[in-house]
Subunit: 100 residues, 7 copies
Amino acid sequence: MKIPLKPMDERILVKPMVEEEKKIGSIIIPDTAKEKPTIAEVIALGADIERENEKKPKLSEVLKVGDKVLHSKYGGTEIEWEGEKYLILSRSDILAIITK
Amino acid sequence: MKIPLKPMDERILVKPMVEEEKKIGSIIIPDTAKEKPTIAEVIALGADIERENEKKPKLSEVLKVGDKVLHSKYGGTEIEWEGEKYLILSRSDILAIITK
Amino acid sequence: MKIPLKPMDERILVKPMVEEEKKIGSIIIPDTAKEKPTIAEVIALGADIERENEKKPKLSEVLKVGDKVLHSKYGGTEIEWEGEKYLILSRSDILAIITK
Amino acid sequence: MKIPLKPMDERILVKPMVEEEKKIGSIIIPDTAKEKPTIAEVIALGADIERENEKKPKLSEVLKVGDKVLHSKYGGTEIEWEGEKYLILSRSDILAIITK
Amino acid sequence: MKIPLKPMDERILVKPMVEEEKKIGSIIIPDTAKEKPTIAEVIALGADIERENEKKPKLSEVLKVGDKVLHSKYGGTEIEWEGEKYLILSRSDILAIITK
Amino acid sequence: MKIPLKPMDERILVKPMVEEEKKIGSIIIPDTAKEKPTIAEVIALGADIERENEKKPKLSEVLKVGDKVLHSKYGGTEIEWEGEKYLILSRSDILAIITK
Amino acid sequence: MKIPLKPMDERILVKPMVEEEKKIGSIIIPDTAKEKPTIAEVIALGADIERENEKKPKLSEVLKVGDKVLHSKYGGTEIEWEGEKYLILSRSDILAIITK
């Protein structure tokens, strides 16, 4: 059963990945890193926002439900649903998409 | 009887949900969360504001009276009416809408 | 006799309401509130400002002389005229309009 | 003889009013006020600036030489000319115009 | 011989006026002033910049070489040429033009 | 095998260069430098973003995979993949491109 | 042999001038100056950026390789190439161009 949340505006709902799954993805976050990112799976996307001034691709064109992403560990709001942790992020919290 | 308040500009009047109702919604805010959101019910919406530069959906297209929302616990102004607590939020305080 | 002041630009002149009148409005500001709003009556409005980018309703379309408003207690400048206290607020200081 | 100064851009040259004149205007600034405004007379206006985005009335449409204004006591630069004190203010320092 | 400097963008090169010349101009900066301006002569102007949004007069329409100006004593960069001190200011450092 | 990451929006994935390779490039960062840049190789580019207001060349027109760049050592997020360190930078972190 | 660096976006690569050369230019930076500028020679220019809102001349219209400039000593990133020091500046770090 899916978590019943629609992110507001350009926010993104993600599920942090557990340690073992992070290794499968083969990307490691070094413990010595100044600013450590975190890996998560995209669960739901907010709305597409078009900006007149800054034409970046719409949210739904760059991210899909199921994508694995690296996100900044600062920012984001934690919630829990049926015993699992989730995060609500802003678009700017997402650093990169794992392409494999 | 309805609380006699019209939120100014793009503000939103909400009623924080009590503990028991929060469980029904099955979303739990972990006590260990860095930034804890709070669940509330939308009571009244302010005005729709169109922005030339940033075309996000109008407030009335994304939120309806009766919607349950997750909002940031920072920001918002508390008031009381007939023995019940209410909050006046800004649009950016709202993180997600509970869809079920 | 009316206080002889025309608020500059989008500012608003209000008269804070005394305790007894606040109860009539039946909205109570809890003493435990993090950010306490205050109730006041609109006495005079500044100018309507049209913004190309952010199309919010003009000041004169949302507020009228005589309206009771909730405003943030931060911001605003106090003055006194014929023994009564007044406040000059900015539009963004106004949180909601009491509709009854 | 007039003070020989043309305010730059949208600045305004004012002459602070002495205590006695303030009473004639019948507006009193309470000593207990959080943010105290000050009363002054407009002596010279800077240039009209048109803004594409934010259509507020031009400076010369809202203020005239001889107007009495309430201004924020923060901001403004003091100068002296022939034994009298003057202030150079920004438009945003002006809170209200005394209309009588 | 003229100082061989062209101010970059909308900057302005000025020569601070010595004490005696300040009195001729008959404008005195009180020692008790909160924010003291300084008097200087315009030596060279940077480029005219047109702004779509904020239509202020071009730099060359409001200032001419030889003008005496009041400027904020904060901001500005000091240099020396052939034994004389100069300042490079930004447009916003200039408060007023001495019109006589 | 290529690191499976697509930088989000206008971000850039780079691989910091080891000491020996830095000398080949013949650019040395002095130990006494106030703000030390770092040399890295471009591994993957994010999206091209067009801005209405500020027409700078698109990211893909100024940077190519394989380019060596000088970047500010502040900013950027470190990750590790198959035993090698990488950085995710913003466009504004890149100071110059090594042209040889 | 030229330093193999192309400044990114509107940045500028300069070579600080040694003491003796500074005197030839006859501009002296007083030791007592609050904010001391520094003299440097332009070595390479970044890209021309057109701004819709703020029409300043393009970088290549105001600066040429070989120009001597005064720049703010704050900002700028130091590098070294073949035993010589260089700086990467932003456009706003440049205060004036030495015209002789």
